[in-house]
């Protein structure tokens, strides 16, 4: 059909510029929250604005945040992985065992990453091959993985790590910048690129918004999901290496309860728990917010549980307030 008689209407690429869209985004809200907390902390405690103290404070969240990056992808794809904390425990146990057999630092790291990937593969296979809901699968593997750590270790602990292994959790790259913190920043960039700039990231969003349509559109849904579970396994292993190195020892109970903190971080970061939307930038901001809240309250010697109330309220209110606000606006308009 000739273009002559079809009147071509021009449709612009974008209505809003990227800048104005960013201003209205969840991330800007988080930036405001983060700034408020930063100011509140500086006012509340004279110890807050000290580079070394701030550097120490980053350890409160870097490991969890690294897992949160991979978890964000999983949740955007409409799944969830509750077994991450148990993977941390199991990989740490595996590394401890390897260290007790006299393996050196590079070999330990390799063992850790391999075990993490293997755990991720178990989750991935159960979800994609058997088509089981990931929330249930990972509740199961959560017990299974930590259970295996308990079987291996029982009431023992692995404490004999090579001296060079300590660097991952205790080393500094430059001045107050710890290796962990730099790793966290590095992974933030890597995950932001993967999610926002690659075909793979696009596939993750497509699956999260409409898995069936994504499949019909030629997205290899099972393969992508499997990869995502591998990634959470891998990142749990990375976190485990840092944590084990920082603690210098392994017990089967390490990282207990982290899964909920990681999920909270991801959701607070604006990732929809129903899948389909969210950014890495939001997760990074949420990590800082949670880290600062814990540290700020810690400086005031507020018990940890009070901090978690605060985080819980924050979680519900940051989601509820925008909803209430739009509702109010609509009511005013009427």
């Amino acid at each position: 059909m000739a273009e002559a008689h079809v009147q071509i209407r021009h449709i612009p690429d974008r209505l809003q510029s990227r800048g104005s869209r960013l201003l209205k985004s969840w991330e800007s809200l988080l930036v405001v929250v983060a700034l408020l907390i930063f100011v509140a902390n500086s006012l509340a405690s004279p110890y807050f604005l000290d580079p070394w103290n701030l550097s120490d404070a980053t350890f409160n969240f870097t490991e969890k945040a690294m897992i949160a990056f991979a978890m964000a992808l999983v949740i955007i794809a409409g799944e969830i992985d509750l077994s991450v904390a148990s993977i941390v425990a199991l990989t740490s146990t595996a590394m401890g065992y390897a260290a007790s057999q006299g393996l050196g630092t590079p070999a330990l790291v390799a063992v850790g990453l391999a075990v993490g990937l293997a755990c991720g593969a178990v989750n991935g296979l159960l979800v994609t091959r058997l088509g089981l809901p990931s929330i249930v699968v990972t509740i199961g593997t959560m017990s299974l993985f930590r259970g295996i750590a308990f079987i291996i270790l029982g009431d023992q602990a692995f404490t004999e790590y090579p001296a060079s292994f300590a660097w991952f959790g205790q080393g500094y790259v430059w001045w107050v910048f710890s290796f962990e913190f730099c790793l966290f920043l590095g992974f933030a960039v890597v995950y932001a690129v993967i999610l926002h700039m690659t075909n793979f990231g696009r596939a993750v969003y497509a699956i999260g918004n409409n898995q069936t349509a994504a499949l019909f559109s030629g997205v290899r849904v099972a393969r992508v999901k499997f990869t995502l579970f591998l990634l959470t396994g891998l990142m749990s292993a990375v976190a485990s290496i840092c944590l084990t190195s920082r603690l210098g020892s392994t017990r089967p109970s390490i990282a207990l309860g982290w899964e909920l903190e990681v999920v909270t971080m991801v959701v607070l970061g604006g990732v929809s728990i129903l899948g389909g939307s969210g950014t890495i930038g939001g997760v990074v901001l949420a990590a800082f917010i949670m880290g600062m809240v814990t540290f700020g309250f810690g400086l005031l010697n507020v018990p940890g549980i009070v901090m978690s109330i605060f985080i819980g309220l924050l979680l519900i209110s940051v989601i509820a307030l925008p909803i209430l606000y739009t509702r109010l606006k609509r009511r005013m308009a009427h």
Partner: protein, 512 residues
Amino acid sequence: MGPALLQDTTTSRMKPAIALEGISKSFPGVQALADVSLSLYPGSVTALVGENGAGKSTLVKILTGIYQPDGGTIRVDGVETHFAAASAAAKAGVTAIHQETVLFDELSVAENIFLGHAPRTRFGLIDWARMNADARTLLERVGASLEPSIRLRDLGIASKHLVAIARALSIDARVVIMDEPTAALSYKEIHELYELIDRLKADGKAILFISHKFDEIFRIADRYTVFRDGRMVGEGLIGETTQDDLVRMMVGRDVGQVFPKQEVAIGEPVLTVSGYRHPTEFEDINFELRRGEILGFYGLVGAGRSEFMQSLIGITRPSAGAVRLDGKVLVIRSPAEAIEAGIVYVPEERGRQGAIIGMPIFQNVTLPSLTRTSRSGFLRMAEEFRLAREYTSRLDLRAASLDQDVGTLSGGNQQKVVIAKWLATKPKVIILDEPTKGIDIGSKAAVHAFMSELAAQGLSVIMVSSEIPEIMGMSDRVIVMREGRMVGQFERAELSAEKLVRAAAGISEIAP
């Protein structure tokens, strides 16, 4: 032509059982109903006709309390009423068989019929024994011999429809609404339904009957109302109108010009399917698709056409059979492989399988073509916008911007995005499953024109459709399927509506 004047003497003297006055309803971007009035009279069947998207189902939902109108009034027996929820409408004696079966797969047949108004024991608890007994009676009334205690998921689509009808009858209603009740039923069941309607009429119920099939409208309706683009454009007595008049009112112009099929020289075979079968869904499928051809697949709902088409792109796995593309045997295990090979499928369920609501238009369009728009796995947005603009503008998409969420588009425009998405992969063979389902007349023409243009450029097209005019207007050749088998093949020259319907329904089934 304005609304036909009401001259019916019998009903004009009667009081309407329910009367709608000046009803309006809009959805984001769509005025589904604008200032519509309609009265239903006891003992009379009113047929509501109109094109897809004319607002018929929306009206049904307003009548049954599922949607609340933006304006206008509803009077039941002359008393102004407000239906806040579905339960309120049921209490007022309005019941409906909805277009989509809205039932519960995991519950029993009896409970599907009685959920919300189950018989109670003295203590206010649900009386299962009575419920099952009552369900059995109701099912017999609609001519279904089903065990009330089995789970609904174990039934076929036709039986489910009968359950839905039984549910509507379980409420002792004065107004019964049927939104395309016969779409999924076979010939025998349709006739039983006609008899049921006659009985309901005799009982003095007011019936609203929605259908796209003119033969049945003329068979059972007493009166008609025509909707176009959310407005009432005509009403009157069935006995005083003709099919052509109704169509003209519905479409607003003469029908001849609707299908712009170009004559194309048909080339060599492109896709050959032989011996295709599946253990439960289809068998013995053999056909050839040639270059430049539009091959129509006709059948009743549930004939297995979609299942077969999906097996071609690797969604379901056939148990035997071979596909050749340009003479080479193809093994396709996933849609990704099908797209690579050059076979694409535009699915029938737009919301579930086609559009990715929540993502912008341009990302929807480029999703199957990402390997072409990206460089070594990294996205190139500029390239994506270019591709998206190219294909959406050829389909005359109406949108504010390309980064708008597809969910904010009207149904027809969503369908254009969906079609653009698969065309952008530059396929050799395109399978369109109900390509114009639920889209307006203008968009329909755009899709048809584009389809024709594609065929002329040498693309091979398979078009699955349940609409006779579309099948007859667009196809070079038609294959008819029934119950998972090919039951007929017709060249364009020998096509007739009657032949298609007979083949699809299974001639032997038709009673003399």
